[in-house]
Symmetry: C2
Subunit: 353 residues, 2 copies
């Protein structure tokens, strides 16, 4: 069931059948004396396909720094608040696009109420982020006593918060329920989506380093997205933000929710390779992913699969002995020397800009 409701975070609509957006999260302290560099990195993330960027705001003073950055960039920035509701209030004095709170650790109800009041005044949506690692005490105890399963505890925690927000008359919310296993992630989001029409933020929490992290996120998110569940995603891995965004793009594409852009096919290399595809794709990946044209580009090492794959790609480059062959839409365009590969490839890429 696709979400019916939607929220607006700066210029971005989450839910309501709008394209699924990609998020990542800033991984270092945000330094007041390095905001120009931070803004440049935010713009770079936008080029790669990032739609929303979240920042932990661990101390009251950090709210103003984040606010200054938010004023410098187009991207909607989200403040992630734990424990102290006053930080959420402080963030709302700045052009923050969305607040994420984990009500399970904010404390008394009146604190949450103060946050929702100010968020409504400012027209700022809130994500209710429930997490397997920080469930409310009573649900954790019921879980430990075996009265509910982990998925049930997560859904119950989210439903309780949504109900509390509804009592406060605040429905401008996005919900996330994050577990660290694929099966639980599938289960909690399916259960919630059957019963509610709030926009859902999908992700697997603490998914681990790069390889297991991407595998778990793909295995959990692709089926959900194919079922129409999920309005915004964050691929959370112990790696860079840029990698998280690239993984998000690929997951959307694999689920048939991709946006226009380059599909890169490249070979894994073997003893036959006459052309170093690893180094070539590493050198060109960021440039290729910043292109918004729908096209397939093939980077192949050798003549076994090279010309075959390259032939059905819009642009192909493949090794052939000590030469390199460029294909365009199924036809050999040029045969060049290996040293010319980068220069010629850049010339060819201009057609996709």
């Amino acid at each position: 069931m696709p979400s019916v409701r939607s929220v607006k975070a700066k210029g971005l609509i989450i839910g309501g059948g709008f394209p699924v957006s990609i998020q990542t999260m800033w991984k270092e302290p945000l330094r007041a004396d390095a905001l120009e560099a931070a803004a440049a990195r935010v713009r770079g993330l936008a080029e790669l396909g990032c739609d929303v960027l979240r920042f932990a705001v661990p101390a009251l003073g950090d709210a103003e720094v984040l606010g200054r950055l938010a004023a410098m960039v187009e991207m909607p920035l989200v403040a992630d608040i734990h424990f102290d509701w006053r930080i959420a209030l402080a963030c709302l004095d700045h052009p923050i696009a969305k607040i994420r709170i984990n009500p399970g650790n904010i404390g008394e109800r009146w604190k949450v109420e103060e946050v929702t009041k100010k968020a409504r005044d400012k027209g700022v949506p809130i994500r209710i982020g429930v997490n397997g690692g920080s469930l409310p005490q009573d649900l954790r105890e019921r879980l430990e006593r075996g009265e509910i399963d982990r998925a049930g505890a997560l859904v119950a925690a989210a439903e309780r918060e949504v109900a509390a927000f509804e009592e406060l008359g605040f429905s401008d919310v996005v919900v996330s329920m994050k577990a660290s296993s694929v099966a639980e992630t599938l289960e909690v989001n399916r259960r919630f989506a059957r019963a509610h029409d709030y926009p859902l933020h999908l992700g697997v929490t603490e998914a681990g380093p790069l390889v297991p992290g991407i595998v778990k996120n793909t295995a959990a998110l692709v089926p959900l997205l194919e079922e129409g569940i999920g309005d915004t995603i964050r691929v959370s891995i112990s790696d860079t933000m840029e990698t998280e965004v690239a993984a998000g793009r690929e997951i959307l594409a694999a689920a048939g929710k991709g946006r226009a852009g380059i599909t890169l096919v490249s070979c894994p290399r073997c003893a036959r390779a006459g052309f170093d595809t690893h180094a070539f794709t590493a050198r060109w990946a960021a440039r290729l992913y910043a292109l918004k044209t729908e096209a397939t580009i093939a980077v192949m090492g050798c003549v076994v699969n090279g010309p075959g794959e390259a032939r059905h790609a819009d642009l192909g480059i493949t090794g052939a002995g000590d030469k390199v062959v460029i294909f365009r839409k199924g036809k050999i365009a040029r045969t060049i020397l290996r040293e010319e590969a980068d220069t010629v490839f850049e010339e060819e890429l201009r057609a996709f800009e």
Copy 2:
């Protein structure tokens, strides 16, 4: 439908309901003067969970070098042959566990017949590897004229080869049909598995660099494995063999076909982190993945999710201010200084050996 037939590659059974095996492929020329180093790397791959290792054998002289390596290691080694059937014959003079040929580029039928005869004499199975990039001429033409789709062309190519092998009385085969898209990979393997009971080798060809490669392979292989399709997998990405094997392990685990081993949960790091989980997990990943005990180990940066996740793990390590806390099966075991983390973690790991 699970495969009924099976083949035996050295000590490894592929098919017949046996555990799904993990393969990777050697990515450089195999040098005769560096076989000790190669053997050490093969043993390292075995530690990480690799069951079968394939080598391109581009020239006749390479067969003997591969044969010498095969005699040095326990792992079944596979010779990958294109174009020249005489190389396949030469490989069969050595303790090679399996031959992979792409009959589409071997040429006349009598050449394939010679290979099957000698393979039968030696008790060596053959993988028929059909590839979207190197389809037989007539099928490529029918595809280009729009008479069949790409999935249909791949399945037809595989069925033609299987029939030819059956005519030669040789059924000791594994089949692979590799396409570069997720949808085609799903489609060709489902179609083939409905009609045939040969063991299937799964993979996405030319899946691209690390991130798109892992996403595509996960999106294609997890559903197939969950449906009981697939007896051996190779995650083909433009990255190291070790990464391919790690991705294979994670894909099997996500599909519920995993083997005993460590599940690593770790956090993506944010501005709250008091403990560098990226560096810590990078340092420890290979050691953790070599452990064969079924256990969950959590590496967390901070107190928000850290103790929660770490608590349900068998072993957990998490930052807490300038200290580091070790959890064992839900109980705080030790609070230590950050500098002691590696030493103490190694002590704790001994319980899992």
